[in-house]
Subunit: 155 residues, 2 copies
């Protein structure tokens, strides 16, 4: 189980890197059902001029219209702690487990996930943090405007 988590988190990191190559914010996710990747996605806010395509949302969308029983057996791997919107989607579809690469750059409502019966595991993977921190360092204004959009104030 532990080694599977590293393997699938590596796939989520690959998605983050795809976003970076497209000029986007490097956050990625994969949805895994019984040891098989059934959806992949990455943050597309910049690429698609979107407000809803966070990595997790893009991943859930790309997985297609699964049955309830499939979502309920699935684990979502994401390089960054899911925000309120993505957590809401996870709860809506009863995805039973969420594995988070890191939650120090930003942290979402992990307790809301847990209160709703979602198993949450934070791996604390340096690579997830480093790829995003490097992006923020190199694109401070883009990042700042993303934070402003959701009401974060860093000053």
């Amino acid at each position: 189980m532990g080694s599977d988590d590293y393997r699938f988190m590596a796939e989520a990191i690959n998605e983050a890197k795809k976003s970076l190559k497209e000029g986007g914010i490097p956050i990625g996710a994969v949805l895994v059902e019984e040891g098989k990747v059934v959806g992949r996605g990455h943050n597309r806010l910049l690429q698609n001029n979107s407000t809803i395509l966070h990595g997790e949302m893009d991943c859930i969308e790309n997985a297609g219209r699964l049955k309830g029983e499939n979502y309920q057996k699935s684990t979502l791997y994401t390089t960054l702690s899911p925000c309120t919107m993505c957590s809401g989607a996870i709860i809506l579809y009863n995805i039973h487990r969420v594995v988070i690469g890191e939650n120090t750059t930003l942290i979402g409502p992990e307790e809301l996930l847990m209160e709703n019966g979602v198993e949450v595991k934070v791996m604390g993977i340096d690579e997830c943090r480093e790829i995003l921190e490097k992006y923020i360092e190199e694109n401070p204004q883009t990042w700042e405007s993303e934070l402003e959009r959701v009401g974060y104030h860093t000053d």
Copy 2:
């Protein structure tokens, strides 16, 4: 203010009717900032083979990448009580007020919205209920499979 709510809810109902004409589920939404519609959307689950394009999500996406201060001054009008995913998006963007056409066909986590400082008003509009109930009567299997997908059991 009261008459404005009826006027903008009528616009959300128009969006629900657009969905119906496209063969979709009749749920609609508009985002209004200081008396002006800045986004429109409707449920596109069937039309776009989507899992994330509920009416509210489509509306928020179509509004484009607004500034935080714009969302914070906005009201979202939706014909049906927002689900957990849509409520999460509303909370993420700090949309300060949500006006709901009806919450008897389905009810979302309205208390979560309120706990997060969102003003919630339920209008109880028969037309919102009737258009969706008629759709459900005429498309019971489609509706049932949508409910199954999110883990609702009606039996």
